[in-house]
Symmetry: C2
Subunit: 334 residues, 2 copies
Amino acid sequence: MLESTRNLFAKQIAVFFTAIFCFAAPAVAQDVLPSWNDGDARSSIVDFVTAVTTEGGPNYVAPADRVATFDNDGTLWSEQPYYFQLAFALDRIKALAPDHPEWQDTEPFKSVLAGDLKGVAASGKKGLAQIIAASHTGMTTDEFAQIVSDWISSATHPQTGKPYTEMIYQPMLELLDYLRANDFEVYIVSGGGIEFMRPWTEEVYGIPPENVVGSSVRTKLQMRNGTPVIVRLPELNFVDDKEGKPIGINQHIGKRPIAAFGNSDGDFEMLDWTTSGDGPRFGLIVHHDDAEREYAYDRDSHIGQLKKGLDLGPQRGWTIVSMKDDWKQIYPDQ
Amino acid sequence: MLESTRNLFAKQIAVFFTAIFCFAAPAVAQDVLPSWNDGDARSSIVDFVTAVTTEGGPNYVAPADRVATFDNDGTLWSEQPYYFQLAFALDRIKALAPDHPEWQDTEPFKSVLAGDLKGVAASGKKGLAQIIAASHTGMTTDEFAQIVSDWISSATHPQTGKPYTEMIYQPMLELLDYLRANDFEVYIVSGGGIEFMRPWTEEVYGIPPENVVGSSVRTKLQMRNGTPVIVRLPELNFVDDKEGKPIGINQHIGKRPIAAFGNSDGDFEMLDWTTSGDGPRFGLIVHHDDAEREYAYDRDSHIGQLKKGLDLGPQRGWTIVSMKDDWKQIYPDQ
């Protein structure tokens, strides 16, 4: 290159980067998290992200270590009146019933088919295991992904009538975006089934299959027509809840997160392990206190019980989000 | 912006992108894989990568689905005269021996301490399990990572005297780079221990902890001085070998790879599952046939046995790499 051409080129690059910088400048406080009201919860998030991304600052964290983990049920989407994965299981039993005439007279299937949730509950853990086995296992992993995709794109919530994927929290979507824009790697770490979530988390949350950690059943490799397939077995492999969350994170990610987000005591150990590491750490609990716009439940709830987190979270420096006060909006606009 | 400014800006962007494109044009055939001799093996790799990255072409694969999985022992680094992780275990037993005077008279430890590998082998699976338990478990995951890091940065190979991390294959490093440059997400999927590999794979191969899948022991969350830690237990959790490889991939990644790379029959199921998917697929086996520069072994080897792959791989369209003929160089220059 001639000297003059090189100079021209350097100048063009400089202009270009200046322009890019103006368009894509780091989001300032007013631009991010628009569905969050001003207040301690929002500030704590912005302060933490600012601290770990400020190069040369005392709390700077390299991008490779900016790992954030999110619970799903009750943290990214609703979980009442029962976990959405249970709704999937019940719908699946109904869809399979024509092939199982014996279910009409056998619990827990009889209650499922009669829409009798109390009857289902009365069948206890054994009944639930039978429902999960019948609805979630026996097929290949590819077949199961298709079944889940078909269901999630058509099923609706028993109370709101909304598709389940519209019962996700707009403020949390903004939080996921904000973290990713700041070079965080964002994971779901849920007690829900890993293969129940993977078919749709990318489209709904922008979280790809490899960033989803969850509970699982055992699988085995089997030859079908000379081709290997992976078949789902009616045996539990891993429960990604409570102490299972740090263990699942360690197994899948191999790094301790610097930020963790949950809503129930099933997330306590994940937040505790995350925030007890060295350096800047962040823990956040979504408190369901908005009976009008969503649901209000905590200490005595059978689903998403939150007691330890309310009692011990604040003294650990965790942010407790009031859905009622901290969120302008719950679900995305349709 | 004024119209003229906008035009100038547009022109500058155009110039800039043209310049960038000239500097960062896709690597052409002569530039990539420099340690690979011209031949069918090298061509098959370049043809596959070109096909799946050619937008609008019949075999184009979106970047999100460009998943490639690599075995480690014998595929990315050497595995003779015994797996390097066994060398770690033996060294660890020696380091711990002063605290265990009883080992002087107890097999398999007695043989380990005497450097008697035949004696170790004679202790069978039970002896090996005892060695693994004593060397790999009882500590926290953080402590284990430190122990591994210390070992890998100081230990040397019993025959070459090289650090183990210099017994990696230069042509495979280039292959990893080539795939990443073409937007592949590259994973290790090894029968070796997941936590034995994670402390060093990023520095050595550029593969971060979250992209490492391997065998594991069970772990549990424990409180130590009021702080949660993860402790390694002397119980097997998962064997990531043979049919365990597709299962481990499905569990960790949640996608079927489009390319898989191995060297032994422990990789057969991974390659078979990978290449039996729809669309363009690639399977490659590194054949150890270079007694002069590395090792020569296959059908009858106790380590890295390769029989099924040689018999069935070619008819499945897999590339068989001759280390002797296809590689200009085995290890990186020091």
